[in-house]
Amino acid sequence: MAMVPVYLVLYWEARRGNAASCTRDLWDIALSAAATGLLVGRLGAMVAGGVNPITHPADILIVRGGVATGPAVMAALATVAWLGRSQLWVIADGLSAAALAGLAGWHSGCLVRGTCLGTPSDLPWAVAQNGSAITRHPVEIYTAIALIAGAGVIAGLRFRGRLAPGVATGSALAYAAAIRLATEPLRPSLGPGPIGWYAVGVAVGAALVVWAIRRSVARPVAEPGA
C-alpha cells in the first residue's frame, strides 16, 4: 500500500514536473530506498529486542515484529543520496512528493490491519472498535490525510517551478516528521516512542530548507533558454 501511491505520484509528475529522462530512475531509487530502509529498520528492531540477526535470519522477514523508525529513515535517505549522487537535488526533489504519498499509503494500511485507532475521544468522528463503547481518534487516517495533502502542495509548487533545488526535499522531510510528532500523543503506546527521531527530522528538514533558499539567493538558478 505504500508503493502504489509512490508510483502514481511519480507517474503523474512525469508528465509535468520531473526531467523527461529521470522518472524511471526515480522509481528504481524509490524501490531501492524503501527496501533498504525496511531491512535496516527491521535489523535495528531485532538488535534492540535482543534477537541476533545472524543466528535467526528468518526473523528478518517478520516485518510486523517491528521496524526501528530512525535507522529505517536514515538508511532510506542514505540510499537516495548514494544512488542519486550524480544529480542529488533533481532526484531528491523528484522523490519528495512521492515519498509523502508513500508514507500516506503506509499509514492507510491500518485499514487492512485494523490498527487505525488511537486514544479515546468524544469528537463526532471518533470510532469505536467492534464490541466496544470507547470511541477513539482514527489517528492513522488523520496522518494519512495530512501527508497526502502535503504531497499535493509540494507537487503543486514544484510544477510551478517556485522551489529552489533542495527546498522540496527539506520541506517533505520536515513536514513528514512534524506530522508524526503532532499525532504521536494520539497513539496508544508502550513508551514515549521515537519522538526524538521525529524532532531531529523536523530540525534537519528545516535546516535544509533554509540552506537551499540561501544557496539559491546567493547563486540564482539560470532561467531555461537563457
Binding site: G49, G66, T115, G131, R136, S189, L190
Partner: protein, 160 residues
C-alpha cells in the same frame, strides 16, 4: 576482498548484538495448563488478563517475544499469561530463558494445543487473547502482534 570487508564487519557487529540469555536449567518446569484451569483464572481475575499463545519452534513467536516482554514489564495492573502449546518442556524453557527470564509472565504448557481452541481461538501460533476483569473476551489477535495493536488492546481492557 576489500570490497567485502564492510559486509564482513557489519556481520561481525550484528553477531555481537544478540541479547544475553539466562541458563535454561535455571528456569523451573512449566506447570501443565488445562482449559478449565485457565477459564477459572479468567473468571476469578479482578485484573485484565492477556494470554499469549506461543511455541519455541514458532519463528513469528520469537519475533514478537521482545515486545511482549517489554509490555509485561511496563504495564501495571494487567496479568500476563504465556501459554506454550504443541511443544516440550526443554524447548519451552530454552525460549523463556532467551526471551522472558525476568518478565512478570506466568507460563503454562499445553502439549496438545487444545486450550486456545477451548478459549475460542484456533491451533495457530502466535495468538493473543485480551480479557477484561471477570473473563470477558475483548479481543483476539491471530498472528504476530505489533506495538500499536498491543498498546491499543491493553488500553481497551484497562478501560473496562
Amino acid at each position: 576482498m576489500r570490497r567485502f570487508l564492510p559486509i564482513l564487519m557489519l556481520m561481525l557487529a550484528l553477531a555481537a548484538c544478540g541479547g544475553e540469555s539466562a541458563d535454561p536449567s535455571d528456569i523451573p518446569e512449566l506447570p501443565v495448563g488445562t482449559a478449565a484451569g485457565i477459564q477459572a483464572i479468567l473468571a476469578d481475575s479482578t485484573q485484565p488478563v492477556v494470554i499469549n499463545v506461543w511455541a519455541s519452534w514458532c519463528i513469528p513467536c520469537r519475533s514478537e517475544a521482545p515486545l511482549l516482554e517489554r509490555a509485561a514489564a511496563a504495564t501495571t495492573g494487567v496479568r500476563f499469561i504465556g501459554l506454550n502449546v504443541q511443544d516440550e518442556q526443554e524447548g519451552a524453557r530454552g525460549f523463556i530463558a532467551e526471551f522472558f527470564p525476568d518478565a512478570p509472565i506466568e507460563h503454562y504448557i499445553d502439549e496438545s494445543g487444545d486450550i486456545p481452541v477451548a478459549l475460542g481461538g484456533t491451533r495457530g501460533v502466535p495468538m493473543t487473547f485480551f480479557y477484561a476483569p471477570g473473563g470477558e473476551l475483548v479481543a483476539l489477535h491471530a498472528g504476530v502482534i505489533d506495538e500499536r495493536t498491543l498498546a491499543l488492546q491493553l488500553d481497551e481492557i484497562r478501560s473496562r
